[in-house]
């Protein structure tokens, strides 16, 4: 897994609550047996018109937000289906971090498995960021997982955030859970032999 230490990039605001994983990537695109290649389907129902042309009104299609690597969204981001294709699509598109007031549990876990950082901030902080990004489209945010800080390039907004220490350690070092769990092989064997 690719480590996550610092990310600086354009942040795109998607000012909607309850963005479900069917919106992040519709089920029709889950037929592949690969882990990559889903970026072109990210938010496909919102990004593209019925005839397949880009919808110019959708934030990621606006020139200022090209190459966005951060998304700022409303609460309960990633609700619904457990499809890991959602974080895969975000990552494949180039998104490294999603900031929201809350995340659905399964999506939240799936992000950490893929080096994608979900940052939970209080509603009012997300609103401040959203307002800033809408006022100054194309604003870059800096995210420092070591220092647990977010700031915009003008340093108008400087915020602190929290990540569970274990998750932070895994992300900073690009560690995958399976390798760590297998360090407890003896405990697993012991459990199996008593049951």
């Amino acid at each position: 897994m690719e480590p996550f230490v610092k990310v600086s990039g354009v942040a795109a605001p998607i000012d909607r609550v309850n963005i479900d994983t069917d919106q992040v990537i519709p089920a029709i695109h889950l037929k592949s047996i690969e882990r990559t290649g889903y970026g072109k389907f990210l938010f496909s129902s919102w990004r593209f018109n019925a005839d397949g042309t880009p919808n110019p009104d959708f934030v990621l299609n606006k020139p200022e937000y090209q190459n966005a690597s951060i998304i700022v969204a409303g609460r309960n981001f990633g609700c619904g289906s457990s499809r890991e294709h959602a974080p895969w699509a975000l990552q494949d598109y180039g998104i490294r971090c999603v900031i929201a007031p809350s995340f659905a549990d399964i999506f939240h876990n799936n992000c950490y498995q893929n080096g994608l950082l979900p940052i939970v901030l209080p509603e009012e902080d997300v609103r401040r960021l959203m307002d800033k990004l809408e006022k100054d489209p194309g604003t870059k945010l800096n995210i420092d997982l070591e220092g647990l800080r977010i700031w915009d390039e003008d340093e108008e907004i400087v915020l602190e955030f929290n990540v569970e220490e274990f998750r932070r350690y895994c992300l900073l070092n690009g560690l995958d859970d399976i390798g760590l769990t297998l360090q407890n092989e003896e405990a697993i064997k012991a459990f199996e032999s008593k049951s």
Binding site: R16, N18, D20, I33, S82, I178
Partner: protein
């Protein structure tokens, strides 16, 4: 010992390893796998030279991608076929039990797990599908997981999880006539909201829950995730034990009696504390219909489509406006006046024998409205067979319903069963998200009885007056 909730008892008895500040390592008793969320997990195993640790605790089937047309007709979508074939290849020579498209035990994972007797009280159950919460109806801890976690379970038979909080959802009193299990859970989600259960495992309690059949309890637990909770559970009781006695792969005889003695220790102890309590008076529940684009946007059948202006928060107002635009609905339209193009009776929420019986009793001797296309998709090959033995297929077909082969079908728009843009569907599935049943499709979630009645009338009707 301190009084414990059922969740805590099951969790504690499955902890393999715990370290402060780290997610616990929990042992998994049953891992159900299907074609969509596993190919990358098996690739990961191969890449790292790892095998499947406990094939004997892993059951595979195909459901999401399979067409629901007759089995003699092949899978025509090449990409779907490749994914279906990949599962067959991946489980080959592993020792994993695999029910393929032609197996008499094939079906939606969340239908076959309990129905075949694999899902049992006290177990930990996972599957790469958010509706794994369904299995909690038998008194087990069942959670949906992502593909990386599927790989983790295949490799280690454990899962790393931070312990969720607990929430009791208590339904007091008896259910009014005409109010089904689906209405119970839609009512709950309407109350707690689609994020109300985040970070929690729910236990459903109260007289109304006790009175439900196992199929009804599965409907309730199925949609726990729609309230944001990864797990929903119901304490096992005599209804549970009677159900398990009939299951082909469940313990039998003395082994079963010994198991039942253990299962009787599972229910939450008197005095045990939940982190959160939600109480609902059963008398306040009614047949529900969703009007918007998430399962929390529900109204009673006697209500009207809400006016977005009536919502307090700007976010809710904006969501409601977007939803009504997408759904093609005007504020204040009576729900009963909403006309329907299609009916989907199926999905892991409502495709069990009780669901089919309930819907059949509503439509018996009647004819589907000429403006409606209606389909029934049994949840498993066994449910289909049983329904046919009871003559339910004939009732549906005589009324003009299409009678299909088991699968996820039109629940999620990834197999040939999809809505066309703008089509409006009364669906017994669990999600009404934008495009869920096909791009531009408009989904209203209802109970099987309500879907059946709408098929006949061509619009929603109050099943209590049927």
């Amino acid at each position: 010992m301190a009084a414990q909730t059922m969740f805590e008892k099951i969790w504690d008895s499955h902890v393999v390893h715990e370290e402060s500040g780290q997610p616990s390592i929990i042992y998994i008793d049953l891992h159900l796998i299907h074609e969509v969320t596993t190919p990358q997990a098996f690739d990961g195993l191969r890449l790292n030279g790892r095998g499947v640790r406990r094939p004997d605790l892993t059951i595979a089937t195909v459901d999401h991608n399979t067409p629901t047309w007759e089995l003699d007709k092949p899978v025509t979508d090449e990409i779907s076929k490749k994914q279906l074939d990949a599962l067959a290849d991946n489980v080959k020579d592993t020792g994993i039990t695999f029910y393929d498209r032609f197996s008499e035990n094939q079906g939606i994972v969340h239908v076959i797990g309990p129905d075949l007797g694999y899902t049992l009280p006290g177990k930990t159950v996972v599957c790469g599908d958010s509706h794994t919460s369904t299995h909690g109806a038998l008194g087990c801890l069942a959670m949906g997981i992502g593909t990386s976690e599927v790989e983790h379970v295949l490799a280690t038979q454990t899962l790393r999880q931070f312990k969720p909080k607990t929430m009791e959802v208590r339904i007091n009193g008896d259910l009014p006539v005409g109010v089904s299990a689906k209405d119970v859970i839609l009512g709950i989600i309407g109350k707690i909201g689609i994020n109300g259960g985040i970070g929690h495992a729910i236990e459903y309690t109260g007289e109304a829950i006790r009175s439900l059949s196992m199929d009804g309890r599965m409907t309730v637990c199925n949609m726990s995730i729609e309230g944001g909770a990864r797990a929903g559970m119901i304490a096992p009781d005599e209804t549970t034990f009677a159900y398990i006695k009939e299951r082909p792969y469940a313990p039998k005889g003395e082994e079963l009696e010994a198991a039942i003695d253990e299962w009787k220790k599972l229910p939450t102890d008197t005095g045990a504390k939940f982190d959160k309590l939600v109480e609902i008076d059963a008398a306040d529940l009614a047949p529900f219909v969703t009007w918007g684009t998430n399962p929390g946007m529900v109204a009673k059948i006697t209500d009207r489509v809400p006016d977005p202006a009536s919502f307090d928060s700007p976010a809710e107002r904006e969501s409601a406006e977007r939803a009504l635009t997408y759904m093609g609905l005007e504020p204040n339209t009576p729900i009963e006046e909403i006309k329907i193009d299609r009916i989907f009776l199926g999905a892991c929420t409502n495709s069990r024998i009780d669901d089919l019986r309930a819907a059949a009793s509503v439509i018996k001797g009647k004819t589907v409205n000429p403006n409606v296309y209606a389909m029934v998709v049994p949840g498993s090959a066994r449910v289909k067979l049983q329904a046919e033995q009871e003559g339910l297929d004939k009732i549906f077909k005589d009324a003009g319903f299409d009678w299909r082969v088991a699968g996820c079908s039109m629940c999620l728009g990834m197999n040939p069963d999809i809505l066309q843009p703008g089509e409006r569907c009364a669906s017994t599935s669990n999600r009404n998200f934008e495009g869920r049943q096909g791009k531009g499709g408009r989904t209203h979630l209802v109970s099987p009885e309500m879907a059946a009645a709408a098929a006949i009338a061509g619009h929603f009707v109050d099943i209590r007056n049927w």
